[in-house]
């Protein structure tokens, strides 16, 4: 997979995705190495994203690589009206690999096609965020020992959450049973459901999460964003429907784990954090190993 840009999760086959997860396992055992010491990684964040950017930069630093770039576009040439094409062609001269977050949808695909060095999409607007998907797959496999035949419950904003969309598409490779919990207004769009139907997989839709919990292997929680609602009262009502408390997970399966892409607001109570079934902070740590694996693979080192 040398030089193979990652823009959409489907750019990598199931086998290629699994290969990244296997390499990530090696990095988890030995996260500090010097294999990137001769490499410069460009980290271009046209909009702020603390978690993703720090995770990428931490991944590079722990492998001895150097990072150049910016964490927001406001004091760069972009502000002066430079086109994305020119920014990418210029930065490609200074780096071996470009990691880009950009609010414009399709910008990552475009960058990957004009850039002489490979590009990793760290989120392009509401479109794709494939490294999040890889780290979610890694976390699911690690906690369950397998990706096959699992019952995965997804809760919250299933309509706009790109994390959910990419994860659903990726999980369609593993005979997953989907339990989709959302308010009616925020149901999984048909363009994503189409993938589940094509594979003839089972899915159930709910508006409340209580009945799902005893069946689930994984509970993937997401944040419901205020700006998705025209009626603020409706937001206040729905916000409090999908709240996970400690007592709710008492009767779940032994292997049950709670995942969340973070940041969370109030959808998971703090008292869940201490439960061995809470996995969201480890999940965030896994992002470092998965990103190390991806960069090492694209640079042809692994």
């Amino acid at each position: 997979m040398k030089n193979k840009s990652l823009v959409s999760i489907n750019d990598y086959s199931k086998e290629e995705q699994l290969r990244i997860l296997d390499i990530a396992q090696e990095f988890e055992k030995k996260p500090v190495q010097t294999i990137l010491q001769d490499y410069v990684i460009a980290s271009l964040f046209f909009e702020p994203s603390t978690r993703t950017r720090l995770s990428f930069e931490s991944a590079v630093n722990r492998l001895g690589g150097k990072v150049v770039g910016f964490s927001e576009a406001s004091n760069t040439s972009v502000k002066k009206g430079e086109s994305l094409r020119d920014t990418i062609l210029t930065v490609a001269n200074y780096s071996d690999l470009i990691v880009m977050r950009n609010p414009v949808e399709g910008s990552a695909r475009f960058a990957s096609e004009i850039s002489p060095v490979p590009v990793i999409n760290a989120g392009d607007g509401a479109n794709q965020h494939p490294t999040q998907t890889l780290l979610d797959l890694y976390s699911i496999r690690k906690t369950q020992g397998t990706l096959d035949n699992l019952h995965i419950a997804m809760v919250g904003d299933l309509k706009y959450g790109r994390t959910i969309h990419s994860l659903v598409i990726a999980l369609c490779n593993y005979n997953t049973t989907f339990h989709l919990v959302s308010p009616v207004e925020l149901k999984l769009p048909s363009s994503v459901k189409m993938h589940i139907k094509e594979r003839k997989l089972t899915y159930h839709q709910y508006t409340e999460m209580d009945e799902v919990l005893p069946h689930a292997d994984i509970l993937y929680m997401t944040r419901i964003q205020r700006e998705r609602f025209s009626d603020p009262l409706e937001y206040e009502r729905i916000k409090n429907v999908y709240n996970l408390h400690k007592d709710m997970i008492a009767d779940t399966k032994e292997n049950f784990r709670v995942l969340h892409p973070l940041p969370r607001v109030n959808e998971i109570a703090i008292n869940v954090d201490k439960s061995p079934k809470a996995y969201y902070f480890e999940q965030a740590l896994n992002g470092v190993f998965v990103r190390q694996a991806l960069m090492a693979s694209i640079l042809g080192i692994k």
Binding site: S8, V104, E105, G106, S107, D124
Partner: protein, 154 residues
């Protein structure tokens, strides 16, 4: 017999060129635009809201002294999926074909997503045609679906 038939035509016959028939009435101007006939130098005849036995109402475009490549003509399938293409030489029908929706479209349609890179930088939009019957176009860049209802031509 031949003369009588020509007299009944609502739009004059052309000696040489291409006739595009069975265009939905509301798509005639889009066809003209897609084929770039606005800048064409020879005679172009067109009509809309003609009676049609098959479709109720239809439009027609006649372009003299011009024969198109199939790829060029197939672009109009997006707005006129049942259009027939008739090539005329010496007032005689030489060939008659129907348009075919292409698998991939570049440059002629605008992505409906205002936050798509193709609407922000000067990049021609590229689409995969994921549904030919209902004209559903998946943007190569932002991956959103543009439909016939949201379709706009550049």
């Amino acid at each position: 017999m031949e003369n009588k038939k020509i007299k009944e035509l609502k739009v004059s016959a052309i000696e040489n060129g291409t006739v595009i028939d069975h265009i939905p009435s509301n798509a005639v101007f889009q066809v003209i635009r897609i084929l770039k006939l606005e800048a064409f130098e020879n005679m172009v005849l067109f009509a809309t809201n003609l009676e049609s036995k098959k479709y109720g109402k239809k439009g027609i475009v006649k372009v003299s002294n011009k024969f198109f490549a199939p790829e060029e003509l197939n672009k109009i399938a997006l707005v006129a999926p049942h259009a027939s293409i008739i090539e005329i030489r010496d007032f005689q029908v030489q060939t008659k074909t129907v348009v075919e929706t292409p698998d991939r479209i570049k440059g002629i349609v605008r992505c409906f997503n205002p936050n798509c890179i193709t609407n922000i930088e000067h990049i021609p939009a590229i689409f995969a045609v994921v549904d030919k019957e209902d004209t559903r176009l998946k943007c190569h860049y932002c991956e959103k679906i543009t439909t016939r209802e949201t379709m706009e031509f550049r």
